[in-house]
Symmetry: C2
Subunit: 164 residues, 2 copies
């Protein structure tokens, strides 16, 4: 059964919280992990992947932490997903076309993708296009209208105390 | 990293071959496995899943085998994919929203999906829509124009000898 890394959910929650920080402020990995009820070591692995993909900036030092690398509307959900899960297709092609009695000895026959793979990748592109058309500012707007007041106040208070 | 079952590729190759059979004819699992250079036990698992999903019909007996359950244009790529991999989303949601200091004691707050999950599922729906809009007749047409003559003749000859 197909599954994405569960780090994708954690990463999306983190970028959403980081989008609420005033300019110049950061949150430490420890604060982000407490806020989401996740282990710090688990979350740091994914935060580092987001830094490597230029979605986050890591500010070093005792007052350091993480912030978004650019405005929320300039970070697509696809960039977050690819940072965690890689850009590889999820369709698994083992080149079955090159097996059995139908296989060709002419390597040029296989210079382009199998048409089955092409059709599967076409569908994946529709998924990627949808993720690319949604960004972190959309999550912020969702949160503004859909998070209940208790949760909103509790998170805002935690972030205000923990930010650096 | 996300991955689909490699059975999806095998299943798509099998439905493509079965689409070439004259009405009333079947191919045995052994023939389908030889034709694709795959082990029979491996392939039978996926062929049975296609039967369970009503994509294929299994004809029992010594002259038995598999055929499509309906015309190629009435079998979408999504039906084949879901038969092998299940209809579950590949976004892994562990309800992170219910953890940490922001969590609510009111269960009604969680009656609807987290908006992060909703946006991820929206993208998956685009993928599903693309697969639903493509069908086995499209693969047949691809094959007609894209498979080289040597391969086409070798497969046709194999199928003509092996069909029942």
């Amino acid at each position: 059964m197909r599954k994405m890394s569960d780090g994708v959910e954690a990463a999306l929650h983190c970028v959403l919280v980081l989008a609420s920080l005033p300019t110049g402020k950061v949150l430490a990995g420890k604060a982000l992990s407490e806020l989401h009820g996740l282990s710090e070591s688990y979350l740091l692995k994914h935060l580092r992947a987001l830094v490597a993909a230029d979605v986050l900036v890591a500010v070093p030092g005792p007052k350091g932490g993480f912030r978004l690398s650019r405005p929320p509307q300039a970070i697509s959900l696809l960039q977050v997903v690819d940072a965690i899960d890689g850009p590889e297709p999820f369709f698994a092609c083992r080149e079955i076309r090159r097996r059995g009695p139908g296989k060709s000895k002419d390597p040029c026959v296989y210079a382009t993708d199998c048409f089955i793979k092409s059709r599967m990748l076409k569908a994946e592109q529709a998924w990627r296009d949808s993720l690319a058309a949604q960004n972190v500012a959309d999550l912020v707007e969702d949160g503004r209208t859909l998070i209940d007041d208790h949760n909103k106040a509790a998170v805002a208070s935690y972030v205000e105390n923990a930010r650096r």
